[in-house]
Symmetry: C2
Subunit: 88 residues, 2 copies
């Protein structure tokens, strides 16, 4: 399956292809949702690792799939790690 | 600036263009880093809104830039909202 692109032929020998500068980030998660916003609660002293590559099978949590994404695209995205302070 | 793509001409009339299925998500943030991982601490009872579109000017926090990204690409990405439980 290829992504449809606009093709303008300037001459038989050269083809100008306009690939959209910015493309979609999310091609897997809740595609029917208008906007995917997740609200998470962390108990005191707890830590969670959250996905930011939109490829995780355990979204919104990270499952390491950013490694495969980075390898396939040359990207450098990684997760967000949040720790809730311990109760004093 | 266009993204380089592989072009295979099958015949003068039709041009097969292979656009990579997955493209980079991060085109702005710490591009020299091997992998961008953020570690954040949340005080008890506090809430933070984190960016997942990689376009925020206040990364890793959200600044609303996902709205412009979604409009430009038809994407549906939104932030992650984390709340640290109140100390009991």
């Amino acid at each position: 399956f290829s992504t449809p692109v606009t093709i303008r032929t300037t001459s038989i020998l050269s083809v100008a292809v306009e690939v959209p500068e910015a493309s979609k980030i999310n091609t897997l998660i809740d595609l029917d949702a208008e906007k995917v916003v997740n609200m998470e609660k962390l108990d005191a002293g707890k830590k969670a690792v959250y996905c930011r590559c939109w490829k995780s099978g355990t979204f919104p949590l990270c499952d390491g799939n950013h490694v495969a994404h980075n390898k396939a695209t040359g990207d450098n995205v990684g997760p967000l790690i949040v720790t809730a302070a311990k109760a004093e």
